[in-house]
């Protein structure tokens, strides 16, 4: 221990110049203020043999900046308290202070894994406000790109699942797939992740040759590659044993908890906005709504397998889109400055993580008066409190990863 590294002269947490009091409080699990709600009082009181473990905001397996305070009894999770807001960017306020075209770029990075869906819902809501008819080619392009992104999102989910269970290889294979898809989309949108692509009344650019050639290459072996990715983990005994019967959730509870998307369908409830409340051109396309779990409810393994089923369905949809893609314009004729009549509109799409909705109130100006963003993973994350109790610490990762949260969407 040399003079430069003596631990006792190291700046310590107690230095008031470094952190605010509440920020210091964030590092001890017990908050520095008296409990404000009965739930908080109940959680932050220890019986003997229990201890708090503060997981996050920086933790390898919290998928971003989620912070979970675990109340452990040995290795067993007695109770837990998720703390959000470390990525709260105030998107809704920004949307209310920027005009309708600008909102698309503001709302883009919400769920950075599947950002096209973040554009889709508000664009649909604005089109309702403005009574715009979207050209069918534009709709088909939206469906095509959206389903491509759904595939990449689910493939990434597979890799993350394995990574949180300690498997190193699958995440890299997932990223090979994901990189191909985003490069493909970058050819038409110009960006790898936050494609600012959908426009009110259409899409930004038409499909170009590079996109089509890349897509053809990918489609030619997509199904086979998907089979290979399934084979990566599904025959793995350790993986299956760790996922089965962990975090079982039955359909009724899932509905009561407001869950949506694959997590709901894995519990046996076939609720998919694409079929339940059809939008865009989904009524013209044929695809199945895979469900799993059945009566007993679905566990983490079901949630994992369901996404693999959805990938093959998405590949079906992409194939149909390519076959009956109509010609025609890709943008409706609209004025540069949009001033919709005062009114309210709600639009919801089926994002890879569930129902993503947007509620817009227009007051006649060029900026929405109120814009609410409903993110699926925000609601789905509530399940951790339900599913993780009385599991082991290691199961916490299995459950959290199987719910597939994305902090950008959760914290807005």
């Amino acid at each position: 221990m040399t003079a430069s590294g003596t631990p006792h002269q190291h700046p310590s947490l107690d230095d008031p110049r470094i952190m605010l009091d509440d920020q210091i409080g964030q590092f001890e699990a017990v908050p520095p203020y008296p409990p404000r709600t009965e739930r908080e009082a109940e959680f932050y009181s220890l019986r003997d043999g229990e201890m708090f473990v503060n997981m996050g905001p920086q933790h390898p397996s919290t998928h971003g900046v989620l912070r979970v305070v675990l109340k452990l009894n040995g290795e067993q999770v007695v109770d837990l308290d998720p703390v959000l807001g470390y990525l709260h960017r105030g998107v809704e306020k920004l949307c209310e202070n920027s005009d309708y075209h600008h909102i698309i770029s503001q709302i883009d990075p919400l769920e950075y894994v599947s950002s096209l869906f973040m554009e889709w819902a508000p664009v649909m809501a604005f089109e309702k406000l403005l009574d715009v008819e979207v050209p069918r080619r534009a709709e088909y392009i939206r469906v095509l790109t959206g389903e491509l992104l759904r595939v990449s999102s689910h493939v990434l989910y597979q890799g993350w699942m394995a990574l949180d269970l300690g498997g190193l290889a699958p995440i890299l294979y997932s990223f090979i797939e994901r990189d191909e898809i985003v490069e493909m989309l970058a050819a038409v949108t110009g960006q790898r992740m936050l494609f600012n692509y959908f426009r009110i009344g259409g899409v930004n650019g038409d499909l170009n040759h590079e996109f089509m050639s890349r897509l053809g290459d990918w489609m030619s072996r997509a199904a086979k590659q998907h089979e290979a990715n399934i084979g990566l983990l599904n025959e793995n005994e350790i993986f299956v044993r760790r996922m089965r019967d962990i975090g079982r959730l039955d359909g009724a509870t899932a509905l009561r908890m407001g869950t949506s998307g694959p997590n709901l369908r894995a519990s046996g409830v076939p609720f998919d906005v694409r079929r339940a409340h059809p939008y865009s051109v989904y009524p013209e396309l044929e695809f199945d709504i895979p469900t799993r779990g059945g009566n007993g409810g679905g566990d983490s393994l079901d949630r994992y397998l369901l996404r693999l089923d959805e990938v093959s369905q998405s590949i079906r949809i992409i194939d149909q889109c390519l076959h009956n893609m109509p010609d025609g314009p890709i943008m409706a004729r609209l004025p540069r400055l949009l001033r919709p009549r005062p009114g309210r509109a709600w639009a919801a799409v089926e994002a890879p993580r569930g129902l993503f909705g947007t509620y817009v109130i227009s007051d006649g100006t060029d900026q929405p008066f109120r814009m609410k963003i409903h993110d699926p993973s925000f609601v789905n994350l509530q399940l951790v409190g339900l599913l993780m109790k009385n599991n082991l610490l290691a199961d916490t990762m299995a459950v959290m990863a199987s719910l597939d949260p994305v902090m950008g969407g959760i914290d807005k």
Binding site: G5, E75, G166, L172, I238
Partner: protein, 455 residues
């Protein structure tokens, strides 16, 4: 002479380092050897003959300490490249040929980082726990026979010593986890303790049958008992024991899929969470030294330690030749080789350089000379190695032992690249519900078989 000058002038920095080194090794080295063998050796032998045990011990300790670090570096590099290969990546390739020195660079970097003790940690325990972990790992080398006669201390209770020392490492992990003043470290230390302690039992029981067969606890004798063809290896007489030993040893060394103690995705880095700098380096090395040790143990106990899989002498006897027996004793050769050592390299270099020079008219002489010298080096090293392999049994043994050991190291790296991690309760259940009964069954069957055969 000008040619030599130009050759030297055109050499790159690397060449200017390597070629003199090779000269030293090939010319000065043998001279010194022979001088030592003729003059210094006897005198020193007389001096040390009085107390050989201490000398042997000191030499063994030095050799072990010198060996363990390069072994760890090689294994780390293997892990980097093999996992990269399994991930369809290239892996480190900037430092050294194909990134061979990346592990070395990483190790040196770790040593130059700020060494840090978190506030609230137990300073003394925090400092000495990694040393304990590393020391136990290195001490285990002492009884491993790398070849005939190449064993640090041929204890007649070598196996007991192994398990005792190996069991001590958990104390270091536990201390590291406890002294870090961090809940993740504490969890990691406790996990390591529970895991290692419960896997000690099947690990030890799995070799009792082997001990019954061999009738000894000395690793050296166990190795000798497996001489001859590969069918004499104990893995064919104790397949179940070998399997149990493999699994339990994996858990013993905290390797995937049993690396609960440093599970990245659960408890951040386990007992090593708060460690930085040199102390983290100790923990880091110890892990990989352990990998080599369990591979070496597998080879020693079950895969015929240093013995070649085929018995050449028996084949020769079958054909009708007499077994090869070359004794390489430099002392007996006198001064002749000394003269040869001086002349042969120069002559052969020139001879080997000629075809290079004639092959392409555009190639300058210095290049031809360098190439010829390198070719000569190749041939000379090959010849010397062959001679040594035939002449010195410990050389042959070392080659086979290392080859087999690194084969198993590759298997462990392979497992790390592919397997997910098991859960702690599954881990414990596996140890107590499956491995322990299987080990007992193995022991019972072996004992019964021995009794039946005896009677």
């Amino acid at each position: 002479m000008t040619t030599v000058n130009r050759a030297w002038g055109h050499l790159s920095l690397r060449g200017k380092v390597i070629i003199p080194l090779l000269f030293l090794v090939l010319i000065v080295g043998p001279i010194v050897t022979i001088l030592f063998a003729n003059v210094v050796g006897p005198w020193l032998a007389d001096l040390l003959g009085a107390n050989p045990q201490i000398v042997r011990f000191v030499v063994a300790i030095g050799g072990v300490l010198l060996f363990s670090i390069p072994a760890a570096f090689i294994i780390i590099y293997m892990e980097l490249k093999v996992i990269a290969f399994m991930n369809l990546r290239i892996g480190p390739d900037r430092v050294g040929p194909k990134g061979a020195f990346h592990s070395l660079v990483a190790g040196l970097k770790v040593l130059t980082k700020e060494d840090f003790t978190p506030t609230g940690a137990d300073h003394i325990v925090f400092t000495w726990a990694p040393v304990l972990v590393f020391l136990t790992a290195v001490m285990t080398f002492l009884v491993i026979p790398f070849g005939p006669g190449l064993v640090g201390q041929d204890l007649n209770i070598g196996l007991l010593y192994l398990f005792a020392v190996g069991g001590m490492s958990v104390v270091g992990l536990l201390l590291a986890g406890w002294a870090s003043f961090n809940k993740y470290s504490l969890l990691g230390g406790l996990r390591a303790a529970a895991q290692v302690v419960s896997y000690e039992i099947p690990l030890t029981l799995s070799v009792v049958g082997l001990i019954l067969l061999a009738g000894t606890l000395s690793l050296n004798r166990i190795a000798e008992a497996q001489a001859g063809w590969f069918t004499d290896w104990y893995v064919f007489r104790q397949p179940l024991g070998a399997l149990i030993f493999f699994i339990a040893a994996t858990a013993e060394a905290n390797r995937t899929p049993f690396d609960m103690a440093e599970a990245d995705s659960e408890i951040v880095a386990g007992f090593a969470t708060e460690y930085s700098g040199m102390r983290f380096g100790f923990l880091f090395f110890a892990e990989y030294v352990n990998v080599f040790i369990i591979s070496a143990l597998l080879v020693t106990l079950f895969f015929g330690a240093w013995n070649a899989p085929v018995d050449i002498n028996s084949i020769l006897a079958l054909v009708g030749l007499s077994p090869i027996a070359v004794t390489l004793d430099p002392a007996s050769l006198g001064v002749g080789p000394l003269f040869l050592m001086l002349v042969v390299p120069v002559v052969l270099t020139v001879i080997f350089a000629v075809p290079f020079y004639l092959a392409r008219s555009t190639r300058p002489a210095w290049q031809a000379l360098v190439l010829g010298f390198l070719l000569f080096i190749l041939v000379a090293v090959g010849l010397l190695f062959l001679l040594a392999y035939i002449g010195w049994p410990w050389m042959a043994g070392l080659v086979w032992f290392m080859g087999k050991s690194f084969l198993f190291v590759y298997v462990f790296v392979w497992m790390r690249g592919t397997f997910p991690r098991v859960r702690i309760d599954q881990l414990m259940g596996f140890a107590w519900k499956w491995l322990l009964p299987a080990a007992l069954l193995n022991l019972f069957v072996t004992a019964a078989a021995i009794i039946i055969v005896k009677s």
